[in-house]
């Protein structure tokens, strides 16, 4: 299949396409899930196929197949041209790609121990130890998992690009549900523990210790009093802020939202081109960076699916909105040079669209202890539970799995029922300190596009402090 990519691109050029690319993708995935001490599932998945894009008569056409025979591969050329011709029949803007020099090379993830080579028995034994650590008097359900992912892909374009990549990722999931008569069930979980790495990352996670912490959080939340409903100082753990960055900075800086490519489903943005360099997104403590080169990031690669090499760019600089995530198409439409390549497709069957890479809150200069010492009365929020955003990524609501009281700079007991809603610039404007304990999180399933594409993205964050945030408290 891979050997035919150049033929597809050459045939497209001979039929008059002004641009064409062919991308083969092979994916493998293995996962083990343990529930309440028993193996719930062991799974090995794989798929492979070819996606083929053309720009013809100024419009895109795309077709993809998982069949490797000549007829199927010829078929996707015909289908892609037919769809481009149909696109051209309803078109007011022609596709203009930002220029890019031809790219050549290979990229491979750095892996110390191949996660696919770890014996299944070792993975199960590891999860059983995690499961035992999560047991508690009121713990009703314990779930844990480990997973390995490998993606091999090759991209050939009519602009002379020919790049190959092999990306390996390892991750874990953990969930503890505590139930007690007369109390509301409490759940503590994390499914964002994935990195571009081998089995060494699973060991570094120290899942048994994390399981004990989650058990303690869930047990304590069962009996915790309701929080006091009033504006308060909130300190967020990096795990929580990683999602806030994702939802309130990553998504609204996706340049395809400006062009209304996603308006009917994912929505638009409140960060428009005329706002660049002027819009106060947050306080001067808040800087955010998109970076496809972060070691072990889930948004790290050699080249994006346009063939743009990995880059980094500022999105928010000392509180001011300054940049976008772009593809060749969106950069071309906006008339800006490529500052970062973020055209990504979930698989061979998907059209690449603008996605996050690793989008992170830059670390600050405070230590975590210094940050806490500045809190007379407040709450530490460890991890998000429910989250909901409007179609401009401006009005949001988050609830928390675990909330602890901070009094006089010290962490005391737990409270429950905490959620908050805010407007993005107002929220980030309340940030008065970011700590230096930056850590990286990996998301597997950022949802966008039609048909839906679930994308891997990375987010780094440190503890950070926000003043006078109105909170809601619900039973």
């Amino acid at each position: 299949m891979e050997a035919r990519l150049a033929d597809l691109v050459a045939l497209a050029a001979s039929r008059g396409a002004t641009y064409a690319d062919a991308r083969s993708v092979e994916r493998e995935h293995e996962a083990v899930n343990v529930k309440d001490g028993a193996v719930e599932s062991v799974m090995r998945t794989s798929d492979r196929g070819v996606g083929f894009r053309v720009v013809h008569r100024g419009a895109w056409g795309f077709a993809a197949t998982d069949r490797a025979d000549d007829a199927a591969l010829r078929g996707i050329i015909d289908d892609a041209f037919r769809r481009a011709e149909a696109s051209a029949s309803v078109q007011r803007r022609t596709v203009k790609l930002a220029p890019l020099a031809p790219q050549r090379g290979e990229y491979r993830s750095e892996v110390a121990r191949d996660p696919f080579a770890v014996p299944l028995a070792e993975r199960i034994d590891h999860l059983r130890a995690v499961d035992e650590a999560a047991a508690g008097p009121n713990v009703r359900t314990r779930r844990s998992s480990v997973a390995a992912y490998r993606t091999r892909k090759r991209l050939i374009t009519s602009d002379g690009t020919d790049v190959s990549q092999e990306i390996v990722e390892s991750g874990a999931g953990l969930s503890v549900l505590a139930v007690k008569a007369g109390a509301k069930p409490a759940q503590r979980y994390d499914s964002r523990l994935t990195r571009q790495a081998g089995w060494e990352w699973i060991e570094e996670l120290d899942l048994p210790s994390r399981a004990r912490r989650y058990r303690d959080d869930a047990e304590a939340t069962l009996d915790a009093p309701l929080a006091e409903e009033r504006p308060t100082t909130l300190v967020f753990a990096p795990e929580f802020l990683a999602l806030l960055v994702h939802e309130s900075c990553g998504h609204p800086t996706e340049a395809d939202r400006l062009l209304e490519h996603e308006v009917a489903f994912a929505g638009t943005t409140f960060m428009w081109p005329q706002d660049r360099g002027r819009l106060r997104y947050g306080s001067p403590h808040v800087s955010m960076t998109a970076d496809a080169t972060v070691p072990h990031g889930m948004g790290t690669f050699g080249w994006d699916d346009d063939g743009v090499p990995a880059m980094r760019t500022k999105l928010v600089d000392k509180g001011i909105f300054v940049g976008y995530l772009t593809s060749r198409e969106t950069a071309g439409a906006l008339g800006v040079p490529i500052a970062i390549g973020s055209a990504r497709a979930e698989g061979w069957q998907h059209f690449p669209i603008v996605r996050m890479v690793n989008v992170s809150l830059d670390p600050g200069s405070f230590t975590y202890r210094e940050l806490l010492r500045g809190v007379d009365r407040g709450l530490l929020l460890d991890a998000p539970a429910s989250y909901s955003l409007d179609d401009k990524r401006q009005n949001f609501h988050f609830s928390t799995q675990s909330a602890r009281v901070i009094r006089g700079g010290e962490i005391e007991g737990y409270v429950r029922g905490v959620s908050f809603q805010s407007l993005t610039p107002d929220f980030w404007g309340r940030c008065d300190a970011v700590a230096d304990d930056w850590e990286l999180h990996g998301f597997l399933s950022c949802a966008k596009g039609e048909p839906l594409q679930l994308m891997r993205v990375g987010h780094g964050a440190a503890h950070a402090r926000f003043r006078d945030v109105p909170i809601e408290v619900r039973e």
Partner: protein
């Protein structure tokens, strides 16, 4: 339907024959194979231009091999017998290296399965040019109104098949046709869509007219203070509420684990007596296929009857654990929680017209649809989300003006307890499901409720 009717479908024999062959010599105590082939033609437009136009044809094959009571699962995207055998071998080796599942219920037994009804050849044959013509008609009408349009025209053809070592062999083709239009002005937006299993259900002119009319009303937006209001929820908004109810509370395992609003309350009044909710995959209007991923025939399940919780749906595993029979609701465990997925909901409707629903409101809100909802309290089936593309203030039974998008936060059970009027059913999918994320299809009425809790507003 024994042979492929056309090149669009692979056909029953082409799919089931390699499954049977691969299962003949499987080195496991039992095994099953589920196939879903999906051909999706998705044309997207914005600024009244088509900007993406994609056709993908993919086949997902999931095999399960059971050794003793240990289960191994493998997938491939090939229907070649050699590849299926390799996947079965992988699954068997995973099972042998795994541990027994003491609650393993066994693979499905052969049982009568209803005839598939949701496939339309004319829909399967819709080509890119026809999709573009539908979009072109919308863009032309919208341009005449002085607005711009964005949206999607999608045609899906699916073929589902299940075979196992006990002799189950089931096959069902299906089609889905979908057309949506978001009409935008500089002041606001309006939204409309059509959905069905026949392309004949799509009416580009009607979709354009409805969205244009809403967009025309959406100007000079005001902010609504937080509080409790009377409300009219249109069909898409009701579907959003039902999605949360389904994903948090209608699966057998969520009931068993104490996570569902039904946990410990089956047989009790959980909401108002105007809510009757079923899962009915035997009604072709719900885009259903008549068996699940395990090959179990789907049953019609009454979930809530006149406000009384009647019980959840089950897959084989949750059914065995709870001492009952599968209702035929096993779903892809990579997308849904195990234990049964209620994805073909029908909510009993009424006879109220749209004008009657609005006319019954003294002061309240009309909600067209939601964006990005979630559930801060799953056990209470609480939903929070912002409205979009048509949120209006109703005063004295008439639309009195446009509102900035509002945030709604409330338990679905409390909301349904306040149903006062119901309109006629219409096929609808919530915001997430419209894009395939945790899909729930609803045959659902619009409703007028006594109380909806608004907890915030976006800027005007």
């Amino acid at each position: 339907m024994k042979t492929a009717e056309a090149t669009i479908l692979r056909g029953e024999d082409a799919i089931l024959t390699p499954l049977r062959e691969a299962l003949q010599d499987v080195a496991a105590d039992e095994a099953d194979i589920h196939v879903r082939r999906r051909r999706a033609a998705v044309t997207r437009y914005s600024h009244s231009s088509i900007h993406q136009n994609a056709l993908s044809d993919e086949t997902h094959v999931r095999v399960r091999a059971i050794v003793g009571k240990a289960v191994g699962v493998a997938t491939t995207n090939s229907l070649e017998v050699a590849d299926l055998r390799r996947a079965l071998g992988d699954a068997a080796s995973l099972a042998r290296a795994s541990r027994p599942d003491d609650e393993w219920p066994g693979v499905a037994e052969p049982a009568p399965i209803a005839t598939p009804q949701a496939y339309d050849e004319a829909t399967a044959r819709v080509d890119a040019a026809e999709q573009a013509r539908g979009i072109g008609a919308i863009c032309e009408a919208v341009a005449k109104a002085g607005y711009r349009a964005a949206g999607t025209h999608a045609i899906e053809v699916t073929e589902d098949a299940v075979a196992n070592t006990r002799g189950v062999a089931a096959y069902a083709p299906a089609t889905v046709a979908y057309l949506r239009a978001l009409v935008l002005s500089d002041a606001g937006s309006g939204y409309a869509e059509d959905l069905g299993w026949r392309v004949a259900a799509l009416d580009p002119a009607g979709v354009a007219d409805r969205a244009i009319a809403k967009c025309g009303l959406d100007r000079d937006r005001r902010q609504l203070p937080p509080g409790d209001y009377e409300a009219v929820f249109e069909e898409l908004a009701v579907a959003e509420i039902l999605r949360i109810v389904s994903l948090t509370g209608l699966g057998g395992q969520s009931v068993r684990e104490g996570r569902s609003f039904m946990s410990g309350r089956i047989g009790e009044q959980v909401t108002g007596d105007r809510l009757t909710l079923s899962d009915d995959a035997l009604d072709p209007r719900t885009l259903a296929i008549p068996f699940d991923d395990e090959g179990e025939p789907k049953q019609r399940v009454v979930l809530i009857e006149r406000g009384v919780a009647k019980g959840p749906v089950h897959d084989r595993h949750s059914a065995k654990a709870m001492g009952t029979r599968s209702t035929g609701h096993a779903a892809d465990e990579s997308r849904y929680q195990p234990g049964g997925h209620a994805g073909n909901l029908t909510m009993a409707g009424g006879r109220a017209t749209r004008d009657e629903l609005i006319g019954a409101v003294g002061r309240g809100v009309l909600i067209t649809r939601f964006h990005y909802t979630n559930t801060p309290d799953p056990r209470a089936a609480t939903l929070t989300g912002t409205t979009r593309d048509g949120t209006f203030l109703i005063e004295d039974g008439r639309i009195a003006g446009a509102l900035a998008n509002v945030r709604y936060t409330m338990s679905a059970l409390d909301l349904f307890a306040g149903i006062e009027l119901l309109g006629a059913q219409r096929l609808a999918r919530d915001w997430w499901s419209s894009n395939g994320m945790g899909s729930v299809v609803c045959l659902v009425p619009p409703m007028k409720v006594r109380r909806a809790t608004i907890t915030g507003s976006s800027p005007a």
